[in-house]
């Protein structure tokens, strides 16, 4: 048996009654009680997530921007204000997705990147290899010693301000999708739930005290189970499920994150231009009773598709999914999902399904 990796908050989770699971090699809380209650807690009030398994990577030196312009499918030139963040994919030459990430522009000599836990080592190796070829002067350093706590929900910012003296003055004017440093902490107005809130990086040693302080201020801990249903309702992709190295961003609902207009070259661009997408990602709402799950086959008049993420939506009280489908499938179509050899009806919808506490689903 291999030893699971732990975050600095492992003991805190156990003390709070978390059910711990092996999450890609990490010992993480899946829930602390009812996963559905935790989901509603975030949509209606606020909750906190331990996302310390994600990895922070700093790129420093002259010419970081020029390197990122080539490394990422989204265009780092969109980042003009210090602190501003950009969501992007990082592609192979084939156009397949190595990972999705957030890059923060701090100054011309420092960009900070947050990557997924399961892909972190692969990502950093790729970044270093590309830098050795195109920007050997750069210093690329990852920070596994940084913990990360996401506080999300309509009341999340106010709760953080209560818990963290001085943070209000610093972050009240912070626009969505941007970040600011506060001492050894890094506070970003970002998240993975479709709600307002912060993602806060903090040195590992200080994380348990901050977590406890948030709890004392009434912030409930939320497990990775609710994190998954929240992000699915918000229509946010999960790497390894909704996209991976075998598909491109245009087939993963991420065309909005790929800049093909500017003249700049980037890794994967030639492949994206040469190969029009063979499929697309759409939302599904199950019309019959049951639960949509990843890998179920979807039958359509235009050929078969496959569910990439599916679950029960606590906000809609229906089952919802993201599905990779033939390009001619249209919003509003009724399709059939094979669930245990029964054909159940589902409607193709435009996602997100829910954001800011409300259902926002659209079938037209």
């Amino acid at each position: 048996m291999t030893t699971l990796k732990t975050t600095p908050l492992n003991a805190a989770h156990r003390a709070m009654g978390a059910k711990m699971v092996d999450f890609g090699g990490w010992d993480m809380p899946v829930n602390y009680g009812s996963q559905i209650d935790e989901h509603h807690q975030v949509r209606n009030d606020c909750g906190m997530f331990d996302v310390s398994h994600m990895r922070v990577v700093d790129m420093k030196g002259e010419g970081v921007r020029a390197f990122l312009r080539y490394l990422l499918a989204n265009n780092a030139d969109k980042l003009t204000l210090p602190g501003k963040a950009l969501y992007s994919t990082m592609l192979l030459e084939s156009g397949g997705v190595i990972d999705d990430l957030i890059v923060y522009f701090m100054n011309e000599n420092w960009f900070r990147i947050v990557v997924n836990a399961g892909t972190a080592d692969k990502d950093i190796a790729w970044m270093k290899k590309q830098a050795s070829l195109h920007a050997p002067q750069l210093d690329i350093t990852d920070h596994p010693e940084l913990a990360m706590i996401a506080v999300q929900g309509p009341n999340a910012r106010a709760k953080v301000w209560d818990a963290l003296p001085g943070s209000r003055e610093l972050t009240e004017g912070l626009i969505p999708f941007s970040a600011v440093e506060m001492g050894t902490m890094f506070i970003a107005r970002t998240g993975y739930t479709g709600e307002d809130g912060f993602e806060i990086m903090i040195p590992a040693k200080a994380a348990p005290f901050f977590w406890a302080t948030l709890a004392e201020n009434g912030v409930k801990p939320i497990g990775l189970g609710a994190r998954d249903t929240l992000r699915l309702e918000a229509g946010m992709n999960l790497y390894g499920q909704d996209m991976d190295e075998s598909v491109g961003p245009l087939e993963s609902g991420l065309a909005w994150t790929v800049d093909l207009k500017s003249e700049r070259d980037f890794i994967g661009k030639a492949a994206l231009l040469a190969n029009p997408p063979a499929s697309k990602l759409v939302g599904l709402v199950l019309l019959d009773r049951g639960v949509l799950r990843a890998h179920q086959t979807v039958h359509t008049a235009h050929g078969d598709g496959e569910i990439t993420s599916g679950s029960y939506s606590p906000t809609l009280e229906k089952s919802i999914a993201l599905a990779r489908m033939p390009v001619n499938v249209a919003i509003g179509d009724t399709v059939q999902v094979n669930i245990r050899d029964k054909m159940l009806n589902a409607q193709v919808v435009k996602y997100p399904f829910a954001r800011n506490g409300k259902a926002v689903i659209s079938s037209s």
């Binding site: 996963q35 559905i36 189970g225 009773r289 639960v291 029960y312």
Partner: protein
């Protein structure tokens, strides 16, 4: 919550209660519902269906996962619990009241051969260690 001593159990985490009319009610145990988490959907077998012991015959789905429910003995389905269509969470709240289906065993003596509460607890303990 301990496992009621008046019920019988299977190693696949069903509980079996003998009713006064000779049928048996079947549900899933406290341990099983705790592993699965919040229930959102229950698919019961059709009334009148003939089942073999250990046959997959129902499905319970939580937010997290789907799990098969197995017939504890051979017999015929006589009733299903329609309340679970609108309130699947009853399985989480009261696992030993929220029956999923009832069946008439082909051979009543088969029930006696199932696990008692202590033997079932030993199965749970062995899975946890």
């Amino acid at each position: 919550m301990s496992n009621p001593s008046n019920l019988k159990y299977t190693a696949s985490h069903e509980w079996v209660k003998t009713e006064s009319d000779g049928t048996v009610s079947i549900g899933i145990t406290q341990h099983a519902q705790e592993l699965l988490g919040d229930m959102v959907f229950v698919e019961a077998p059709a009334v009148g269906r003939s089942l073999k012991a250990k046959e997959e015959c129902a499905v319970v789905e939580s937010v997290k996962a789907a799990a098969d429910v197995y017939a504890p003995v051979s017999g015929t389905v006589t009733a299903i619990n329609g309340d679970l269509d609108s309130s699947p969470e009853a399985i989480n709240n009261e696992p030993y009241s929220a029956w999923i289906f009832k069946m008439k065993p082909d051979n009543a003596a088969d029930i006696d051969a199932l696990l008692d509460a202590a033997a079932y607890q030993a199965v749970v303990d062995s899975e946890e260690h």
